[in-house]
């Protein structure tokens, strides 16, 4: 099975409509843990970042991390949630070796945030809790059942988490993945988390069911646990939808259960673990007093909200006239958006006679803005991969000037790509590179270009005959010859015009 196939994501479901809700756990990037003053751990030796509180030693007591509340409020505001004026913690009781107190401090009927929205998906709630420790099973099975030895690393235990629960508003696996990407970008923009799925700072479970198209009632749902990449999320949901459709086609019921997706085999297996039907015996955490969320706390959170991706997409479309795809691409990779805007500022500054730092905002030609966006999303990203362009040798202003050279036809696009190669590898101003490499566009009416065109026709007589016979596609080899001879400095349209002229054809 290939990802991102061109077919519709719901093909093969025979008219069943998928209903998907997500439960996302986000590790907050606070300095210290949720209920103690241990620093958060990033791969330090096991059990070095612990204290009586996060080890659950007798007599120890939790104290709420104010920064985690602040981050929680920022998330709530970004997701357009209603913020609780009073929020309290509950204990969720169950036994497991990764849970040192025998309960997790979480939130139950008074979560920090309720009822929001991100894009087309409604948010049910978002609440604060503490992360469990990390179990390492030594032995063949990799699970606690059948392992030779299991050891616990409490470094992760007590890391602040925000759990975000969506309403079941997603209806295909590709959108589920895209929405999760939007959420990740939003959280990254907030600066509240590393949001790295591979490292576990962003974890996603999916509640999946299917129903007959047009039906309102929900089918029996299953829960897919911990898919640790965006790709696996999409594939896992896809596989589970197919499995449920298969069951229903065969007249068999879907059983409510928790499933684990194995990306190696593409198979789903039922989880036998702590998640087996539990009565968590929630009750108010008596060691903590309820948090009163006052206006100052909300105002402080609001003051730190940056522009969020969804708003940014809108602005790129309306203000700069970018295409939807282009706007999303730049807005969802925060660093690309920042680079784009810096480059755009340079274009505006350099724009005809409107220069000067204090100048009023200049209207940017949408075609130029789009061209700049394309060069960033396309050529620059192709050369830099995941690297933040701000860390590269190419300053936004330099890229802006390169795009300006191209749009002013001072150089060709092909030459522009060569210049960009040099800029990425060695740095430097585009104008200087054009100068030293002699990449300036050959001006139309240049005698030398006519000579090169004549030589090209001479070398490709067969092609010339075909053009004369009306086959415009035969132009390729001739243009290729000219481009090679001129190192791409010739303008393709001008060359084509000269060829036709020299062959006595109308232009």
């Amino acid at each position: 099975m290939s990802d991102g196939a061109a077919t519709s994501p719901n093909d093969g479901l025979d008219g069943f409509e998928p209903v998907i809700g997500l439960e996302i756990h986000v590790q907050l990037s606070t300095a210290t843990k949720m209920f103690c003053s241990c620093p958060l751990s990033f791969g330090e030796p096991p059990n070095t970042y612990t204290c009586p509180v996060c080890l659950g030693l007798p007599g120890s007591l939790p104290v709420v991390n104010a920064r985690a509340i602040h981050f929680g409020l920022m998330i709530g505001l970004a997701l357009e949630c209603e913020l609780a004026p009073r929020s309290s913690f509950h204990r969720k009781n169950y036994f497991y070796p990764d849970l040192p107190k025998g309960y997790q401090i979480s939130q139950y009927d008074e979560p920090l945030c309720r009822g929001g929205r991100l894009g087309e998906v409604r948010i049910h709630r978002a609440h604060l809790e503490e992360d469990a420790a990390k179990l390492v099973h030594v032995g063949t099975s990799g699970r606690i059942h059948g392992s030779d030895v299991s050891v616990v690393d409490f470094n992760r235990g007590g890391t602040p988490l925000v759990e975000i629960v969506t309403e079941p508003d997603l209806h295909d696996p590709v959108r589920a993945r895209e929405w999760l990407e939007l959420l990740r970008t939003t959280l990254r923009q907030l600066g509240v988390s590393d949001v790295n799925m591979e490292e576990g700072s962003l974890r996603c479970d999916a509640n999946v069911s299917i129903r007959l198209g047009g039906s309102v009632a929900l089918g029996t749902k299953t829960e897919l646990k911990n898919m640790n990449s965006f790709r696996f999320l999409e594939r896992g949901i896809r596989a589970e939808l197919a499995r449920q459709a298969e069951l229903l086609r065969a007249g068999e019921p879907v059983v409510q259960e928790t499933l684990h997706f194995d990306p190696q085999t593409g198979k789903l297996s039922a989880l036998r673990s702590k998640e087996e039907a539990h009565d968590y015996r929630y009750f108010p955490e008596p060691d903590l007093v309820p948090i009163q969320i006052d206006e100052d706390m909300v105002a402080a959170a609001r003051a730190q909200l940056p522009e969020l991706p969804a708003a940014r997409v809108e602005r790129y479309e309306s203000e700069f006239g970018l295409t939807a795809a282009s706007a999303r691409h730049l807005a969802f990779r925060v660093e690309l958006g920042a680079y784009f805007e810096a480059a755009l500022a340079e274009l505006a500054r350099a724009g005809d006679g409107h220069g000067g730092v204090d100048a009023a905002p200049v209207q940017i030609d949408p075609a130029v803005a789009q061209q700049l966006a394309n060069w960033i999303s396309g050529e620059l990203v192709r050369r830099l991969g995941e690297e933040d362009p701000a860390d590269s040798r190419v300053a936004p202003a330099q890229l802006a000037r390169l795009v300006a050279l191209i749009s002013q036809r001072a150089i060709t696009a092909g030459a522009g790509r060569q210049v960009l190669d040099r800029m990425v590898q060695q740095g430097g101003d585009p104008e200087g590179i054009v100068e030293t490499e002699g990449l300036g566009a050959i001006a139309s009416g240049d005698e030398a270009l006519a000579g090169v065109v004549a030589a090209a026709i001479e070398a490709h007589q067969g092609a010339a005959e075909k053009i004369k016979a009306g086959n415009a596609k035969a132009m390729g080899p001739i243009i290729g010859y000219v481009m090679r001879e001129t190192k791409g400095r010739a303008d393709g349209a001008e060359v084509s015009r000269l060829v036709r002229a020299q062959l006595g054809l109308e232009n």
Binding site: P52, L55, G56, L57, P58, G59, S60, L61, P62, V63, V64, R91, N93, F95, P97, P100, K101, G102, Y103, I144, V152, D279, R281, Y282, F283, P286, D287, L288, V289
Partner: protein, 474 residues
């Protein structure tokens, strides 16, 4: 020089301050008595005084050694909460209350026996054997701070730290003929106290007299402890009591806590103390705490519910007892089966049941509402009265084994102390007489943070009662 053991803690402290008593000598005198303990009051006794005794003597507590209930965590010293599941457990840190007292000049003398995880009213639920009452070794000292009460009553310690969840300081103080004070909930940090029921547990002193209680309490309260979210800053300093008269004091006597089920001898002593209060100028009137009769049932839902969760951490994974087994579940089961005593298991079962889905509302939810009503009852009573008074325990010390087979009879021992615990108000037990050769206790309770008033009134009564009986000392 006179026998230092005969001095109250406050007297000993002032002699040390005056240079008339060597704190190391004082420590040795108690250390040798505690080490020779025949009451099973101690689970651990310090071998020698801390190296900083001289510096400690400068502190307000004058180097007067302190016995500490086993459930307070003390760094590098066994802290087993009376349970086999924590046998030999030595915490890496010291409880805030103990630390504050050490800093104020009270060195750790030893750890005292208690009912397992503070669950009990007779000290017979200890994993380390029962404590004997110094007045009659065939009887219980009360519980759960039975070791602390017996040690102070028998002169094995000048004073002691206990904890009170439903009466665990006041009831043993009453049964052993000493003073016991449960402060306002939140007044003393719970950090480092091995939890029984978090919303009720409160540390407090057990002392020979009211002045000692005031002296030590003054060093336990103060600024709030940032390690305990439920702790509160005490709004004033604790003064040593001086009152000799009670003019203007209005004392309410709750009907619900001063009649039914109370032994004649206890009632007689209680009435006598009320007369003394009137003689000193107080007005004494009947009052109502209408929901108090439901307090015990609510308590025996709420406390076990919290305990069932608080005790989940004793699972054999990280510390304490572990019974090895083939599977995780088996390891859990065996560890907890062997590590916990019968009463602890009973309360874990009760609490687990009360929190179960389908039963939560009927038990935990309803009990919380009763608790709210009781808080309101006390608030209303304190609009008309400065303090309320009732006996501390419905009976004097009972015989060992008398109630072990009947949990409900045992739970009744707390019937007069539990309401104040649920309300979170301060309450004090004062020895006020003898019945059949055994001490009785008079309980006073006041509004939150009225400790100074409570101590003052208790002090005036103490002087007038002139309770001078002491158990025969070894």
């Amino acid at each position: 020089m006179s026998d230092p053991i005969a001095l109250s803690a406050a007297e000993a402290a002032s002699r040390v301050h005056a240079g008339a008593l060597d704190p190391a000598e004082l420590f040795d005198a108690y250390q040798s008595r505690a080490a020779a303990d025949e009451l099973n009051a101690f689970t651990w006794v310090a071998e020698e005084p801390p190296t900083a005794t001289a510096a400690m003597a400068e502190g307000p507590l004058g180097g007067v050694p302190l016995a500490v209930k086993d459930l307070f965590c003390t760094r590098g010293v066994p802290s087993q909460a009376g349970s086999r599941i924590l046998q030999g457990y030595e915490p890496p840190y010291t409880a805030t209350a103990v630390e504050r007292l050490e800093q104020a000049g009270a060195p750790l003398l030893g750890k005292t026996n208690q009912d397992e995880f503070a669950m009990g009213s007779s000290n017979e639920n200890s994993g380390y054997g029962p404590v004997l009452n110094p007045w009659d070794r065939g009887r219980v000292p009360g519980g759960s701070s039975g070791g602390s009460a017996a040690a102070v009553a028998a002169g094995l310690a000048p004073w002691a730290l206990g904890t009170d969840t439903g009466g665990s300081i006041r009831q043993p103080a009453s049964l052993c003929g000493i003073v016991g004070l449960k402060p306002t909930y939140g007044a003393v940090s719970r950090y480092g106290m091995i939890a029984f029921a978090s919303s009720l547990d409160q540390a407090g002193p057990l002392t020979r007299n009211v002045t000692d209680a005031a002296l030590i309490l003054g060093q336990m309260v103060g600024p709030r402890d940032r390690c305990d979210s439920t702790s509160l800053e005490f709004p004033e300093s604790i003064e040593l009591p001086t009152a000799t008269r009670l003019d203007g004091a209005a004392i309410g006597v709750p009907e619900e806590l001063s009649g039914e089920g109370i032994e004649d001898g206890v009632l007689r002593a209680f009435e006598e103390t009320l007369h003394i209060a009137e003689r000193l100028g107080a007005t004494v009137k009947r009052c109502r705490l209408p929901h108090a009769p439901h307090a015990l049932s609510a308590y025996y839902v709420l406390a076990p519910a919290e305990a069932s969760s608080n005790l989940a951490r004793y699972d054999g994974v990280r510390y304490g007892l572990r019974e090895e087994a083939e599977t995780l579940l088996e390891m859990y089961t065996r560890t907890r089966r062997d590590g916990f005593g019968a009463e602890v298991k009973r309360r874990i079962m009760l609490g687990t049941y009360a929190l179960s889905s389908g039963y939560y509302e009927a038990y935990y939810g309803r009990a919380q509402r009763v608790r709210t009503k009781i808080v309101e009852d006390f608030r209303a009573a304190f609009e008309d009265f400065d303090l309320v008074a009732c006996p501390t325990s419905p009976t004097v010390a009972f015989e060992l084994g008398a109630r072990t087979g009947d949990p409900l009879a045992m739970y009744m021992s707390d019937v007069l102390t539990v309401p104040m615990s649920l309300a979170g108000v301060p309450a004090l037990s004062l020895p006020n007489g003898m019945s059949d050769g055994l001490p009785t206790g008079f309980q006073l309770a006041g509004p939150p943070f009225s400790e100074n008033r409570l101590l003052d009134v208790a002090f005036a009564l103490e002087q007038a009662i002139d309770f001078d009986a002491v158990p025969a000392r070894a």
